[in-house]
C-alpha cells in the first residue's frame, strides 16, 4: 500500500501504549498467579460475610484501603506476615501447606537409617491420617506426636548424621 505509514499518522493519537512494559511485568512476576489465587479466596470470603468489607479489613490489618484494593486485585506481593494477618481477620486459611507423610523407615547395614517421604499434595492438614509407624529398636511410638518429633527421636538413638543427610536430600 502506498503511503501506509503516512495515513496511519493522520489518524494516530498522542496516547501511548504501555503494553510492552505491562506484559514484561506480567511475564517476569510469576508470583502474580499466587497473588491472584489468594485474592480470589479473600473476595469469596468477603462475598459471604455481612460483617466484613474491604474498609474493615484495612482497619483490622492497620493498612490503607488502597493496599487492600491492590491485594484483592491480585497485584500485591504480600509478605507472610500480611497473609497471616489476613487469615486471622477473615478467620479463614488463605494458603495450605503441603504435608510430608513419613511413610517408611528402613534400617540398612551398619545401623544406617533411611527415611522415604512422600509429599501429599492439595490435602489440608486435617485430612492427613497418621501413618502406622514401624517399631524399631527401643523406639516408643507413644512418645511421638509428630513426624518432626519422630525424626528427632530416631536421630537421638542411631546414626544422627545419616538421618539428617537423608532428610536434606529428600530421599
Amino acid at each position: 500500500m502506498k503511503d501506509f505509514k503516512k495515513r496511519i499518522e493522520n489518524i494516530s493519537t498522542p496516547v501511548e501504549s504501555k503494553w510492552r512494559e505491562n506484559a514484561k511485568q506480567r511475564r517476569s512476576n510469576k508470583w502474580l498467579t499466587y497473588s491472584g489465587e489468594i485474592a480470589k479466596r479473600i473476595l469469596s470470603v468477603l462475598e459471604n460475610r455481612d460483617d466484613l468489607n474491604q474498609s474493615k479489613l484495612a482497619e483490622a490489618l492497620n493498612v490503607t484501603p488502597q493496599q487492600i484494593s491492590k491485594i484483592v486485585k491480585g497485584q500485591e506481593n504480600m509478605t507472610l506476615e500480611t497473609i497471616y494477618k489476613l487469615s486471622q481477620a477473615l478467620n479463614c486459611e488463605l494458603i495450605i501447606f503441603p504435608t510430608y507423610k513419613w511413610n517408611l523407615v528402613e534400617l540398612g547395614s551398619q545401623n544406617q537409617i533411611s527415611i522415604r517421604s512422600e509429599l501429599k499434595l492439595n490435602l489440608p492438614f486435617s485430612q492427613i491420617q497418621p501413618e502406622p509407624v514401624l517399631q524399631m529398636g527401643n523406639f516408643n511410638r507413644s512418645k511421638v506426636a509428630s513426624p518432626t518429633m519422630y525424626v528427632a527421636h530416631l536421630a537421638s538413638n542411631v546414626e544422627t548424621t545419616t538421618v539428617a543427610n537423608k532428610i536434606k536430600t529428600g530421599s
Partner: protein, 188 residues
C-alpha cells in the same frame, strides 16, 4: 480518539495498533489486558453473569476454576504477541492475519475493513477474545475484547457492544479515507 501503535514496523508502518476511544486515557488493548489481570474485576464479572455459566459450553466448571482460567490466558496472549513482535517483520516472518481470523466462522474470505478476532491457541475452554479491524495483511487495529459467555456475540450485552465498537472503528477508518481504491488489490 484515534489509533496508537502496539508494535509496528518502523519502515512500513505495518503492525498491530489499538484504538483509543474518546474519554479513555489508555488504548483499548491496554485497558482490556489490565482489566483481565484484575482478579476483583474478573470475579465480579462472573458473579454478575452467573446465569450464562449454566451453558454446556462451560462444562459445569465451578466459578472458582473459571476465574482461575483467565489470568493464564492473559499471559498466553502476552506471549503470543511478544513472540510475534520479537520475530520481527522480515520477509519470512508470520503476518498478523495468521494470528487474527475473520470474526464470523463462515466468513472464509479476507477483505478490507474486515472484523477479526483472536484468542489463545491452546486450551479446552478459551474465554478471552480480542477483536480487531483488518487494515491489511499485516496491519490490524484492536477495537476491544470480551470474556466469551455466549456462543453468539449478539446474545450477551457486552459482546454485542463489541460488535458495535467494531462497526464504529470501521466507519471511522472509512470516513478518514484510510483506504482508497488503489489499495484494494494490495490488501486482498
Amino acid at each position: 480518539m484515534g489509533i496508537v501503535p502496539i508494535f509496528v514496523d518502523d519502515n512500513t508502518g505495518e503492525g498491530l495498533y489499538s484504538f483509543v476511544y474518546d474519554g479513555n486515557l489508555e488504548p483499548e488493548y491496554d485497558r482490556i489486558m489490565n482489566l483481565w489481570s484484575n482478579v476483583q474485576y474478573v470475579s465480579e464479572y462472573f458473579l454478575n453473569n452467573l446465569k450464562y455459566l449454566k451453558d454446556p459450553f462451560f462444562d459445569g466448571q465451578s466459578l472458582d476454576s473459571l476465574i482461575s482460567l483467565i489470568y493464564p490466558e492473559v499471559l498466553e496472549l502476552d506471549d503470543m504477541f511478544q513472540d510475534y513482535n520479537e520475530a520481527g517483520f522480515g520477509q519470512f516472518a508470520k503476518t498478523l492475519q495468521q494470528i487474527f481470523r475473520p470474526l464470523f466462522d463462515d466468513d472464509y474470505r479476507l477483505s478490507i475493513y474486515q472484523s477479526a478476532k483472536t484468542s489463545v491457541q491452546r486450551g479446552r475452554i478459551k474465554l478471552l477474545r480480542i477483536y480487531a479491524i483488518r487494515m491489511g495483511p499485516n496491519a490490524y487495529v484492536i477495537t476491544g475484547g470480551s470474556i466469551k459467555l455466549t456462543k453468539k456475540m449478539q446474545d450477551h450485552p457486552d459482546s454485542n457492544k463489541e460488535l458495535e465498537k467494531l462497526e464504529f472503528v470501521r466507519r471511522y477508518l472509512k470516513s478518514n479515507n484510510f483506504l482508497i481504491e488503489d489499495d484494494l488489490k494490495d490488501i486482498l
